[in-house]
Subunit: 336 residues, 4 copies
């Protein structure tokens, strides 16, 4: 497969390159960056030195489509909708890593306060929840928080047992991107933790969409994000209030049945943690049932740049091309 990446200078672009370097069927044919046109990719992504001998290019959708079988768009929301139509019209497969196509158009416009210029039906690319990914030529790749949150609660939502749920998520700061800011300034982030957008983060809309699809009677979905002094990873603590008390064995059976054969889901007796999934496409999930209570605490851990972004995009690509979904992704995390 010849692969194109539009917007290759950021973290998700760099992570696509890192992961594709280990993919036996992938050949990265073009990487674009308007700003860095003509520069070596490995000058921006120095960890890729000697691995790639590529330069950033400035290409139109038609040009990049002409040289590739699939294009990943790793651009800001609002920009993707300007690029994707041209790619699709040129007949290339597309996976969009931005937020532009993840939500129903009306929900998108309200959430992002932005007119959508290319309303279009797609599949939301969490393969564990959307097996129909395999038949698509265009996929909206999910947000990082919604991936961790949806995977944590989906089995119980699907079983119709949830009354309401509070997602308290903790993300590594790489989720905020490669551009320096006050929040990412080391003296501000080290030895700290910052809650933000306590009740208004845009990713909530994706979680609501996915869990409501599984159980449209679900009464409440709350979501509060934090950034922690970690580069990578999202730990989601899902405080789930069930309609009735449910025992540990029953909950375990529900998760096992739901995820039984999914390669990247690791159900665990231990409490999941970022250190076990760093650099990998795994989503570790564990839970504990509160005694004499209808609350269950489910914890999921992912690498925000892999299962939360570029790894999941490659997993989608594999399925779209009829490959095993683990191709090129069956690598362990890096620990310690």
């Amino acid at each position: 497969m010849d692969i194109g990446i539009i917007g290759g200078s950021g973290y998700t672009g760099g992570e696509l390159l890192r992961l594709l370097a280990q993919h036996p069927e992938a050949n990265v044919a073009a990487v674009t960056s308007r700003r860095l046109k003509g520069q070596d990719v490995s000058r921006t992504h120095r960890h890729l030195g000697k691995i790639y001998d590529l330069k950033f290019e400035d290409l139109t959708p038609q040009e990049i489509a002409g040289r590739t079988d699939i294009v990943f768009t790793a651009v800001p929301h609002g920009t993707a909708m300007q690029v994707v139509p041209g790619l699709i019209d040129a007949g290339v497969k597309v996976i969009d890593l931005s937020a532009d196509y993840r939500l129903q158009t009306d929900v998108f416009e309200k959430t992002y306060n932005l007119k959508h210029t290319d309303p279009r039906k797609t599949v939301y690319g969490i393969p564990e929840l959307h097996p129909e990914v395999a038949e698509q030529s265009f996929i909206a790749n999910p947000g990082c928080y919604p991936t961790g949150a949806s995977l944590a609660a989906a089995p119980l939502a699907d079983s119709g047992l949830i009354d309401h749920v509070v997602f308290d998520s903790k993300s590594g700061i790489s989720g905020a991107g490669a551009d320096p800011s006050q929040v990412s300034h080391y003296p501000n982030m080290a030895e700290n933790i910052q809650a933000y957008k306590l009740t208004t983060h845009r990713h909530r809309a994706e979680i609501v969409q996915e869990l409501s699809r599984l159980d449209n009677s679900l009464k409440g979905i709350s979501f509060t994000p934090h950034v922690i002094p970690s580069v990578r990873g999202i730990l989601t603590t899902a405080h789930i209030f069930l309609k009735e008390q449910t025992g540990k064995e029953e909950v375990g059976r529900i998760y096992n049945d739901f995820y039984g054969d999914k390669p990247f889901i690791r159900l665990t007796d231990a409490v999941p943690m970022l250190g076990n999934v760093r650099g990998s496409n795994f989503c570790d999930i564990g839970f504990e049932v509160e005694k004499d209570s209808n609350r269950i605490v489910v914890v999921s851990a992912i690498d925000n740049l892999v299962k939360g972004a570029s790894g999941q995009a490659i997993q989608n690509m594999n399925l779209m091309f009829g490959l095993d979904e683990t191709t090129g992704l069956w690598t362990p995390g890096i620990a310690p």
Copy 2:
């Protein structure tokens, strides 16, 4: 005041020494450690070099009481109850930093699975919630998590508005003490976050005690702790479900009325964070009301070793001796 510290080799002992060094009325007369008897205090606490010229001693309660006006017991739970009676009998004022006297005896015995050998009535030393501290000669100093959680939710509990609340707390690893362990091993803790005792942490009993006292109709109190890659601090994210929707102004008024004149409570429009309270006795509190919802997210930030332990103990001491509660504690946090 001549002050004694029983168990001075750990973090709360060291923090008492650090803070008392700046207290105009305090003279540390004795510090005990059976293991380090005869050694310079500043050999264990090297940051105290040249500040103190003290050696660890091994003293009976009677001996230390004979040389001091007040004794802080900074020993493990189960040990304090063996020491405190002797101190009280010897007529010295006592502040116990362990868990032994914080709970009703029956609750303690169930929570800690331990027979209490010295059942005794005390006051739970959060001065903002217990003004009666000032008349006591013996105080049970609260746990770190309960301090942050109780202060975050007390005004709403007191107003009778809370239906149920989920406390999702994030603590610096110094809360686990000075002894190395797998959890505190740098390669395990760095770039990580660990949820633990998802539904069973013992500190929940203290939170329940304090909030139920303010509103005994409160339906549910959940508590899930995490450790984060930070040495100090506890950030508590309180997901509070109210009985009815309540506006931002009304909530603000409730907090202002409740805490108006309390020096160490800083109500803030910004989201509180650990970086602003590190090393200080302040508790920063902020909140956001979710739109079209009865959920409010309240965030509190404290330094677990100061307001969550040794600083609050000194605040209690000040009140017990008729001093202004800020004496020796009116120092800003250290930032960045």
Copy 3:
């Protein structure tokens, strides 16, 4: 004393405020920031909330001099020389925290590639090396790296024993200031260490000036700085090659004689580390003599924002006003 701070929005300004809050003789009368004029100081420095009730002002040198006894200038190099003459002419005492007055004019102009508009003789304010600080009304406060390096090597330089020395210094990232940059971006700094300006850092000129003053036959002074994933602190590893092998006792005697009565120097048998001086004005110094060799490794640890900047400035202020140099500074570091 009424105190003014010109340029109070950065880290050294914030640290002056933090430290002066604990100084019994100090009253901060004015803090300037052109950009933040009219805003609460505690909105920028949130850790100072409730401690100060001050607003940033935009004042001329004459105006601030009219309201104060001493002014600290915490502005970038090149700016100080535009402000200092007016302050001095207005008769106020001045401590300049910039680089403008630390070097001989010709050395400054070559090192900073900048014409000096106010050549003027001053004293270089490391009080342990310059007791004449006490008679001055204008002091050039030293750079952070030169403070750690000069204090580590001064006794041996003074004894005439040094052949050449390599300073390998490791600084916390707060030394780069409060403005975000690629280097201070958390994902770039965490789990990393960056050597920079391997042979060309401007602070070398200050080290050369101070050590050559003690021994003008010194043959070589090399300096290579690094930033490490720490907010505060500078650890200096001084690889000192002596003219001849010198025993441990002799070296110890030299350091003791040189620093014997200096309150902020702590000579230690252990290897100094940042964790013991954080937040304090101490400089910890230790050393080891290499067996069968004329190399000695001396290690010094300071807090770059305290002894390396604002704390030392206050130490200088104390001396200039005839106070004990420890006034308001005799506080232990914060550990852990």
Copy 4:
């Protein structure tokens, strides 16, 4: 190839497993741990969950040799010499990751203060310096510090230009192993840096051996290690004093000639840093020539667990089996 690992519960064992999971010719046939016998390998190394379905075994050298083509010994020094002879006698290839066979017997015994029970000639396995690795059936895998230091200075040593050199090395704390200690305790290591064994670290003997082999007239080799708040990586700052001033171009030519075709050496114009080599087998090297001086500062960056241990071991294995040395190792580092 069927592979055995003796001592698989530590960091180097875990890293061998992580890297071998991506090696197309490798099959891990046996992993031993006396303590964890019978337990799932992925219970200790949770990041390897679903990747390996192996249990720790307790095997004699003969047993493990009977099931494998090559055995890695990842055991403490002193233990390897008890295991290696049996393996070699059983006819299996061996790579020892301990210190036991890295030094001449007399130097080993003096350095480690331990009688060697199996004196035996081997090759020191830095393949870039020892192409004869390819003909061996037993290799002593080098220490982490010596790998970074030797690779930084070898070209200049080989050219006979070095007068003396000071290696100031900064290591991630994973180098201290998986067992918790005071040094690795998060509150002690975070926001800190610790110099240790300022002049007496045992790894110096390996550096001396390797550089003296290239230039036996070399006058002085100093080495001072530090641990920094990073899990992985070693940054070596080599302060090299040449016999005469040598220009940048000439030095560049020497490094290019020496390393020209070595795949894992990346010569760079930028200053190398840990963040670019994390998780990879690369050694990045850069340098700067001091103006008007005979000092050159060379900086090298490696991942201590990969090029400094397990990755280099696999590189040696590849060569011993006639494979391309990059087989299974041609993966980029993980960044950010």
